[in-house]
């Protein structure tokens, strides 16, 4: 094994892409990336790049001891997988279940790797 699933995922993010795995045997998407398909037991997992579109499945606003409250959400991507993320650019309390969102790759800089966040799709619910 040359590259871990995490390294492949991260390399896609560095190119601005949200990657996920596809299990031909199970016929469905797999996320988080791994070596074994949790639906079929198969180790034959293919990499695909997501469209970046999704829908908010669940949402909360977490209040840290210091600093501004921030959104934490679960996003159902159109390809059939779910991930934790946050919706940016709007008041975190305005983020609603069912809201259509689109990926934006957040690059914190320094040692911290890039990760996907989401923004509201204009004109959508």
């Amino acid at each position: 094994m040359d590259q871990s699933p995490l390294a492949v995922y991260q390399a896609h993010l560095d190119k601005g892409e949200l990657a996920y795995q596809w299990s031909p045997e199970a016929g469905r998407a797999v996320f988080y990336p791994r070596l074994v398909c949790p639906y079929s037991g198969s180790t034959a997992l293919e990499w695909r790049v997501a469209s970046g579109l999704g829908t908010v499945y669940a949402t909360t606003v977490t209040h840290p001891a210091q600093g501004a409250p921030y959104n934490v959400a679960l996003i159902d991507c159109d390809e059939g997988f779910r991930l934790m993320s946050r919706v940016e650019d709007i008041d975190p309390m305005v983020v609603k279940i069912g809201m259509r969102v689109r990926i934006r790759v957040h690059r914190p800089g320094g040692e911290e790797p890039a990760y996907p966040v989401f923004v509201r799709v204009e004109g959508a619910p």
Binding site: L6, F31, Y32, Y57, A58, T59, T60, V61, T62, H63, P64, P69, Y70, V72, A73, L74, R82, L83, M84, S85, R86, M93, I97, G98, P108, E112, P113, Y115
Partner: protein
Amino acid sequence: MSGLQRAGAAIVGAAESDLGHVAEGLNPIDLMAQGIARALDDCGLALRDVDGLLCATTQSRTSGLSLSEYLGISPSYIDTTILGGSSFMFQVGHALAAIQLGLCRVAVIAYGSTQRSVGRRQASVREINPYETPYRPFLPSTAYALAASRHMHQYGTTREQLAAVAVAARQWALLNPVAWEKKPLTIAEVLGARMVSYPFTVRDICLVTDGGGAIVLTAPERAKGLKKPPVFVLGCGSAITHVNISSMPDLTVTGALQSGQEAYAMAGLAATDIDVVELYDAFTINTILFLEDLGFARKAKAAALSKMDTSPPVAGCRSIPMAAASPIAIPACTASSS
């Protein structure tokens, strides 16, 4: 847990360790040992009778070894299954199996935590998850808050209904001489408390206290003639669903749905037969979900139930200890996130 015999073992002793904020320097193994000594005294058995040891803590890597050494015993059966808060419910099933198979005759299940003394971060170190940690979820609160958001969205559950669970729990606490919080709580106080992870304020979330305890189980024939009437374990079930909240299939359905069905089937009982229910209330949404999944209320109705019935005795809130409450015990366990 098919294969287990209905009433194949009995709980014969139960006790708590020191609770709240324990004396400086006490560690989780101290509290487990103290709970075991008190539980053995509760039933009239002695440490030399114990040949099954089951325990779990996040504060000791090899708690089975530590506790055995501390007590000076060499149990023939050891189980340190760690699945979060439900570990000890799983261990009831494991103890039943061990007793049924003759792997041990007297089993103790013990818990101990000094999370108030040492702080949550020290007591329960979080693993880094590259797919969740960047979003700074405040776990486990954020995970349960996400579940609450789904329940509110799907069933119209309100923050007031969630708060009613905490109010009812506090009313039970007022009856408990060793409870930590001894002041009455109102729905307005829950809603107005410091927000942690919407919709939860700090009062929707369980207290962080030190504590511990133990129960003693043995075979039915050994259970006769001890200090107190035995409490037979009629049924138990177990299920696991996920560890990371992003991997939970449906945030409004817990593993208690499956574990409850298994426990009822083993016991030959239904929810309508149950008089006393004790549900984990770590977050106000938990109690509502468990009432639903264990068959005490339909989805969307449990929240209304808790709102309607906030005075003891209400199903789903802390009640008197199981062993003293009822001649039957049906542990249903569910392992999940956080």
